[in-house]
Subunit: 118 residues, 2 copies
Amino acid sequence: MPVTVWRRRGRPARREAEAVRTLAGLARALGHPARVRIVRTLIERQACIGCDLVDETGLAQSTVSEHLRILKAAGIITGEIERPRVCYSLNPAALEPLRAFLTTATGSPAPARPSRRA
Amino acid sequence: MPVTVWRRRGRPARREAEAVRTLAGLARALGHPARVRIVRTLIERQACIGCDLVDETGLAQSTVSEHLRILKAAGIITGEIERPRVCYSLNPAALEPLRAFLTTATGSPAPARPSRRA
DNA sequence: ATCGACTATCGTCGAAACACGATGAAGGAG
DNA sequence: CTCCTTCATCGTGTTTCGACGATAGTCGAT
C-alpha cells in the first residue's frame, strides 16, 4: 500500500497560524447578534451615527460603544470623528479573508490544486 | 382602533432577528483558532478522524472534542460514527448564510452565480 | 475476558465576554 | 456663561468560554 504521506513534520508556515488567528479574530468579532446587526445596518445605509445604532439595537449606549470598539479593533468598521458625533462605516477589505475562506469552504471544487506555492 | 404602529422604522420581521442570530452563531462557532484550523483541515482532507485532529491542533483530546461539539452544534461539521472512531466531515451548506452575508458586506460584484446548470 | 485505541462527558479553574449605570470630555446652541 | 447632545471609558456583577485531567463507554484484537 503506497500510503499517501502528507507532511508530517514540515511546519508549512508560521504564516498559516497567523492567518488562522486572523480568520478566528474576524469571526469572533462577528460572533454576536448585536454586532451582526450593526454590520448589517452599515451595509444598508452607507454610514451611520452611533446614536442611530443605539436606537437600532435597543441596547444601552455604553454597550453599543463596546460592540463598536470590538468591531473597530477587528478592523471591520472605521469611525470618522465629526464632532461631537462619530460617523461609522464599513471596511469591506477587512472582511475579505473571511469571505475568501468561506467561499473556499462552501463552494470549493479545488481541494487538490496546489498550483500556488506561497 | 387600528393600532398598526408597526414599529418605528418598519422592521420587516422577527425572521430578521433569527437570521441575525444564525449568522452570529456561525461566526461565533468559527471564532476560535482551533476551530478554524479544524475546518481548514476538513477542507483540505475531505474527512478526518478525531485523533488526527488532536494531533493537528496539539491540544488535549477532551479540548478537541469540545471544539468538535461546538462545530457540530452549529451544523458546520457532521460526525459519522465508525466504531470506535468518528469520521468528521464538513457541511458546506451550513456556512452558506455566512458566506452570502460576507459576500454582500465585501461588495463582491456578481458572485459567480452560473445558474443551476450542473 | 482482557487489553488497547478512540471518543464523549464531567468537574474545575482562571480568563474573557457581556451588559449596565455613572462619570467625563468635546463641541454646538441658547 | 450654561445647557444639551454625543461618545468613550470606568467599575461592577453575571455569564460564558477555554483548557485540562479524570472517567466511562464502545469497538477490534489478543
